[in-house]
Symmetry: C2
Subunit: 196 residues, 2 copies
């Protein structure tokens, strides 16, 4: 196999869930049938790597100093939603259910990986939350152990500063059936049941 083909197969493995077999398939596919697409991919990756940075205010991906959302007058500055990653912000936005602003942690507390409050720069979030405009902080970190711990830790910090904190609801998914739902989720949905 030519060296540059071997290198390409190796390099394609940086993509998530791409093992040696898929990487080989992708490399051959690109060279055999998609050379224009491969060139477009090179250009798009190069542009994204050089242009995309983090919003100074909310940390999400943007090409500007401050992202469109943070600069917009149409968003409600009294609600601040805290998410782990830009992709989570994107999922939230797709619901069209939230019109406030965001703060992206770019991670979660994870003592085993050496990621504590300092590494996540939680001080910056506290400053942001105490700017006077924010009335409620909504914790939308993941419902994993680490996401839960992060939400818990942060809500303690915010409470001591007198800020109202809420957490996304846990329960059954829309369209979910009890029969196919795990016991933990059913138990949470039971504990957190709402008056009808």
């Amino acid at each position: 196999m030519p060296g540059s083909l071997e290198n390409l197969i190796e390099a394609l493995r940086c993509l998530p869930s791409v093992g040696p077999k898929s990487a080989q398939r992708m490399a051959y596919y690109l060279l055999q049938r998609e050379r224009p697409g491969a060139q477009r991919l090179v250009d798009a990756l190069t542009a994204a790597l050089s242009r995309i940075r983090h919003c100074q205010r909310c940390n999400t991906f943007t090409e500007d100093e401050c992202c469109e959302r943070c600069s917009s007058a149409k968003r409600d500055p009294s609600l601040l939603c805290v998410v782990e990653m830009p992709v989570d912000l994107n999922m939230m936005e797709q619901t069209h259910a939230f019109n406030g602003l965001y703060y992206v942690l770019m991670g979660r507390l994870s003592p085993l990986d050496g990621i504590g409050p300092k590494e996540l720069k939680l001080e910056r979030l506290l400053e942001r939350a105490c700017d006077g405009a924010v009335k409620e902080v909504i914790m939308a970190t993941n419902f994993t152990n680490e996401g839960e711990a992060t939400a818990h830790y942060l809500s303690d910090l915010l409470h001591t500063r007198g800020i109202k904190v809420s957490r996304m609801a846990r329960g059954l998914p829309v369209g979910g059936e009890l029969e196919f739902t795990d016991a933990g989720t059913i138990a949470q949905a039971f504990y957190e049941r709402r008056d009808y």
Copy 2:
């Protein structure tokens, strides 16, 4: 979403079996956690696109005029194996069962897509097979309708030039069980049974 991120997601869709959801996941993953890997991918793709071309003799991918295999004195020039694509050649090589030379068609006869003998430049293969050194041409095109038609058509052409032609055997896969094999394959394995 920033424009360059949208473009990246769109560009990633040129990869085989990558839809909008996976493309989004890949783009966020690369920007969030694999910027060095993304840069390596840009470099590897750029190098492969500029360096990889087709061997003058067998059509496979190579960085040189003539690929290592075709220039090697260790390969048996009396056997010529015809495959559809470079990836097929690669699969054959991984078996270590064949020590002859190859010819890569870069396609298959496919009248519905307007690919006939002229588009596949079959004349070139005939010239190659009639160079005096080749004693047997082994058809290793796929066992699809189009691959079978290509093998059949080519073997007719080669027979009229007095060249021995053979075809890869059909039958059950190694480790295959009758219970889980399709009827067509079992029928072929039955017709082509060998004396024991």
